[in-house]
Symmetry: C2
Subunit: 240 residues, 2 copies
């Protein structure tokens, strides 16, 4: 019996690409910088996995994702606008990740799931980032779980296991929800149930995962459809 749902956030719940493009344009265009802002978002996001790998591999100690985002930002700004962006703007731009907009189905879908399941992000984003996204988009979390609690990054098993343990649940009582096969494969290997949510346009039109490429327990086109599937066929048991 599934008691809790834990969610990937970047890409699965929020549209990081459009939001970062909007924020970058809003902060950098006034400085006279011209660029394809979606490309800027892609370039920044491309720094994400290599930065986390430094931590996952043990080469660097754990640091919050905000700090990894800042390292990535320095790298891409060095490439195309080395001397034109002051420190204040860099700080503000780095916090663009705290101002991402949700896909339109998410808030209502989470609200529908809330009466029956414990809900938390299991994201690589840090706690303050998750809190700001929740306030902005109306995500009704019970707790903020994920990388900062586990002090390591997905897809390391410790992150999924720490989320289940925080809720006092066995891994099999927790369902990981994500739009990414790699995340779900790692969650399944750690013993969690899995739900795929399609985000076919995450990386631009038609450039996202539109269908699952691995065996999952559930597959849905939106968080709302996930809620229909789960609340129609299962009822949250009352543990206490």
């Amino acid at each position: 019996m599934i008691e809790a749902l834990v969610f990937d956030v970047f890409g699965t719940l929020v549209d990081w690409r459009s939001s970062i493009a909007r924020e970058a344009e809003s902060l950098l265009a006034p400085l006279g910088i011209a660029r394809d802002w979606a490309d800027f978002a892609d370039a920044w996001r491309a720094q994400y996995q290599p930065a986390m790998e430094e931590v996952r591999s043990g080469r660097l100690p754990f640091a919050k994702l905000d700090l990894l985002h800042r390292r990535g930002l320095e790298r891409i700004l060095a490439d195309f606008a080395p001397d034109r962006v002051d420190e204040k703007t860099r700080r503000e731009l780095n916090l663009a990740w705290h101002r991402l907009d949700a896909w339109p189905d998410v808030s209502a879908g989470l609200q529908a799931l809330k009466p029956r399941f414990l809900l938390a992000p299991c994201s690589n984003g840090n706690i303050s980032l998750m809190v700001d996204l929740a306030r902005r988009n109306g995500f009704p979390w019970d707790a903020i779980l994920g990388a900062e609690l586990a002090r390591d990054y997905k897809p390391k098993p410790a992150v999924y296991l720490a989320a289940a343990a925080a809720f006092d649940l066995e891994p099999g009582q927790v369902m990981m929800v994500a739009a990414h096969a790699a995340d779900l494969a790692a969650a399944a290997a750690a013993g969690l149930a899995t739900a795929f949510v399609a985000r076919p346009d995450e990386n631009g039109p038609g450039r996202g995962e539109g269908s699952p490429t691995l065996r999952v327990d559930l597959s849905a086109a939106s968080i709302g459809e996930l809620a229909q599937l789960l609340c129609g066929t299962e009822r949250r048991s009352l543990r206490r």
Copy 2:
């Protein structure tokens, strides 16, 4: 400028004594056990500080408060009902701490504070316990902070500092709210602002802290009065 309020929970937000007495009676009286149930609650609670001191001192590794509660329960049951309580009942009784009722002013007070401040518990209770109390009583937390995140117990400074760091705030931007002078003294020593809330009946009629015995930034008779004091004189700055 205060950006976040973090709260002590046992005694400050919830009436642990009446709730534990009710739960103990409900589970143990049917086994033929007769006792003053408020005394039972007091005896169990008396195990609390010594159990945490084992962790704070480094003699034992960090363990969730649920586990410390269970150790304390074993000790008091051994004293007065050694062979009459089965394992299932012990487990269920231990989870009584997840079913505590809030003082009547708390839920509305927190809701009034929510638009202006980030809100989190900074409790020695574990995450799942805090989640269950929040669901039961309508506490609108942004995140669950406290001992399980810091992996140590108040009044160690690490617990207060970890709460501020999770919100990306300086200690002085965070106000600790508690009904206990010792908690507030430790928070102030760690650099946090402090608010005292009176709970004169926490340990029974007239047996609680009814007024602050140390210098605090604010003192209130309830969470509702705290909200009036804070929202009338300060406005939450928008950081992002």
